[in-house]
């Protein structure tokens, strides 16, 4: 099969799966609903069905899709940025930093909601971006800017943030449900306000990433080569780092830390459609959103009680990832 045909199949399959995912999300849940119910609801909406279909299920599906797209795009950007397939939002410390902010806010009872975020969500967002700034500043101070330095600084800062998070959780053992939410993620509390808050940013970052994708292709040849070919390396690098940090911080702020999406989705996509960054960014966003949509379906329907979504993303993502890697060899 030609690469072009393979790409077409990939896009068609992704779109189809995505639409099917939204439909299934609307129809499944602890309250039994049939397609007939949905059709009747469209004909004559009532308060209960409206709340269940639109306010609870659709808002949740949309938020899951947006967060999945944000995480996968952030991961795709970082993997290109570091020229390292192990990179994901955890590596630069965004996720750990954001969860630290959330847990501190929860432990201190910081509830002031703003910008569509809860109090902990807002602090998660700010501390996620804060820790990346810190990592970046520390890396710069060591004379010049090296990818290895920022990678290692990020890992160290992330580890420190994780340790502090555990400390706060240990001190406040009564906020267990909050702890699970921030450490493993959930869309149980999804609402339209959150989707409306992050949607413009995810869209903006996607457009920017696609726009700068050619420069990312050049970076893959090495910074010197890219510079020689006319790529403003430092500026492009800054823009990509800021973009990936923003995406990951937004995701954590509304849904807690959801692992694996940022790591595996770009890999799947790269295996399926190749390494060119423009289609890679677009496809990662679509595939990431679709993947998380299905993971959330499992999280809320697999058992009577809701599972943290981080459990599902890892359990589903890892084996599939291994399979694809193996097949590639």
């Amino acid at each position: 099969m030609s690469r072009k045909a393979a790409r077409r199949i990939f896009w068609a399959a992704c779109l189809l799966l995505c639409l099917a995912g939204f439909l299934v999300s609307l129809l499944t849940g602890p309250v039994r609903t049939t397609p007939g119910d949905l059709i009747r609801f469209v004909g004559s909406p009532d308060a209960v069905r409206s709340a269940i279909f639109l306010d609870l299920r659709l808002s949740r599906a949309v938020l899951a899709f947006l967060v999945g797209a944000a995480l996968a795009l952030s991961g795709a950007v970082l993997q290109g940025y570091f020229r390292n397939p192990m990179a994901d939002p955890f590596v630069v410390g965004v996720s750990s930093g954001a969860s630290l902010g959330a847990v501190v806010a929860a432990a201190l009872g910081f509830e002031a909601a703003a910008f569509g975020f809860s109090g902990p969500g807002l602090l998660a967002f700010l501390s996620g971006l804060g820790i990346v700034s810190l990592v970046y500043a520390l890396s710069l101070r060591r004379g010049g800017f090296k990818v290895e330095t920022i990678l290692l600084t990020g890992i160290a800062a992330g580890a420190l943030a994780s340790a502090l998070t555990s400390f706060f959780l240990f001190m406040r053992s009564d906020s267990y449900d909050q702890a699970v939410f921030w450490l493993l993620g959930s869309f149980q509390l999804a609402e339209w306000g959150q989707a409306a808050t992050i949607a413009p940013w995810v869209a903006l970052c996607l457009v920017a990433a696609v726009w700068l994708a050619r420069d990312m292709d050049l970076l893959a040849l090495g910074d010197e080569t890219a510079q020689a070919l006319g790529c403003p390396v430092r500026r492009v690098r800054k823009a990509f780092l800021a973009m990936s940090a923003l995406l990951a911080a937004l995701a954590v702020a509304v849904s807690g830390v959801i692992g694996f999406v940022g790591l595996v989705v770009p890999h799947w996509v790269r295996i399926l459609i190749g390494p060119a960054h423009r289609p890679l960014f677009l496809a990662s966003a679509l595939a990431g959103g679709t993947f998380l949509l299905y993971c959330d379906l499992l999280a809320r329907n697999l058992l009577a009680a809701e599972l943290p979504i981080g459990v599902i993303t890892a359990a589903v993502g890892a084996p599939f990832f291994l399979y694809l890697l193996h097949k590639k060899r």
Binding site: P30, V31, A47, G116, S118, L129, G193, T197, L241, A305
Partner: protein, 338 residues
């Protein structure tokens, strides 16, 4: 290309970290989202507060235990969702059993409550199921995750959140408040008065007792899990004429140390269990621990069972626990061993 050049020119002027600029930009650009009508509504109308336009609406406002105003519906609620077992017990006790539309899976008392639709557990109630029951009143408890309760309020359902009491004196007012929000003041007032009388009767019976036996309470199956000074059971023990040995622990519930029990030497041990078999197993487990056999309570055989559900739910049956505890601690005042 022209656009690209503009972008580069713009970026080269920056000297601060681009990520810091992103933070600033994010705050600036997030403001419009914040000003969306939906957000404003969410900000200014606390969850659970549902304005009733009806002229029949009672003007009298009540505040729930989170300090949020709650406007009482014009007519008594017909479909109540109870999010905690103690709330369910109180609702049934004031004759509202027929109007309860949903309960948690832990709501097993009175037995009729078991037949009602389940909304999930205490910490994992399902929002969708709550909404599908179409309640006109949701009574939540502080044991429910606050964020989940707020999400339910944002669906437009009237949510009233009750806090756990610090001591028995908070129980009659809790019953009375549930009566007020459900429009059953008379029946709830009677129950509140009855509970108050029974608590006072124990106080009166124990007036002037010189001894205050040392009490150790153990929740069977959780190691030496006991109630600390912040638990309402600490207050129940004090009112029953005893002294909780774990009273100094600044917690509601905590794991106690075996050495401390030996040092404290309690005169009487209460084991919270759900069945006689569990009680026997708990007593054997405790007596079998090294060093515990020498403790006064074990030596004298003053190890008794208490109904775990009655003791761990802040509801009417807590007064039964008080009666039993007082009679066991001071049999001389209550006409011999019960």
């Amino acid at each position: 290309m022209k656009l690209g050049g503009q972008r580069n020119g713009d970026m080269s002027r920056r000297s601060v970290s681009p990520i810091l600029s992103v933070i600033v930009a994010a705050l600036v650009f997030l403001v419009p989202a914040y000003l969306l009508p939906g957000h404003q509504e969410r900000r200014h109308v606390p969850a659970g507060h549902v304005p009733f336009p009806s002229a029949a609406a009672v003007a009298q406002d009540i505040t729930d235990d989170l300090g949020r105003p709650f406007t009482r519906p014009g007519r008594a609620p017909e479909r109540i969702v109870s999010m905690a077992p103690n709330v369910t017990e109180i609702l049934f006790a004031i004759g509202l059993g027929g109007r309860v539309a949903g309960v948690t899976r832990f709501c097993d008392y009175p037995p009729e409550a078991r037949r009602l639709p389940r909304i999930g557990g205490l910490v994992d109630p399902n929002i969708e199921i709550v909404r599908s029951l179409d309640p006109d009143l949701v009574i939540a408890f502080r044991g429910n995750p606050l964020r989940l309760v707020e999400r339910i309020g944002k669906l437009g359902l009237p949510v009233f959140v009750l806090d756990i009491g610090a001591g028995l004196e908070d129980l009659p007012p809790l019953v009375a408040r549930i009566g007020r929000i459900t429009g059953t003041e008379a029946r709830a007032g009677e129950l509140a008065a009855e509970l108050r009388d029974r608590i006072q009767a124990v106080d009166a019976a124990l007036k002037g007792t010189a001894s205050r036996p040392k009490v150790f309470v153990m929740l069977y199956g959780q190691g030496l899990w006991t109630c600390g000074g912040e638990s309402y059971l600490d207050d129940v023990i004090a009112r029953a004429g005893g002294t909780n040995v774990a009273s100094a622990l600044p917690k509601k519930w905590a794991l106690y140390k075996r050495e401390r029990i030996i040092r404290d030497d309690p005169d009487i041990v209460f084991i919270l269990t759900r069945s006689t078999a569990d009680f026997e197993a708990g007593r054997a487990w405790l007596a079998g621990m090294a060093g515990i056999g020498a403790v006064s309570a074990v030596r004298s055989g003053r190890v008794y069972g208490l109904d775990e559900d009655a003791a761990s739910r802040f509801g009417p049956r807590l007064v039964d626990v008080l009666d039993r505890m007082a009679a066991l601690l001071h049999p001389e005042r209550f006409g011999g061993e019960p």
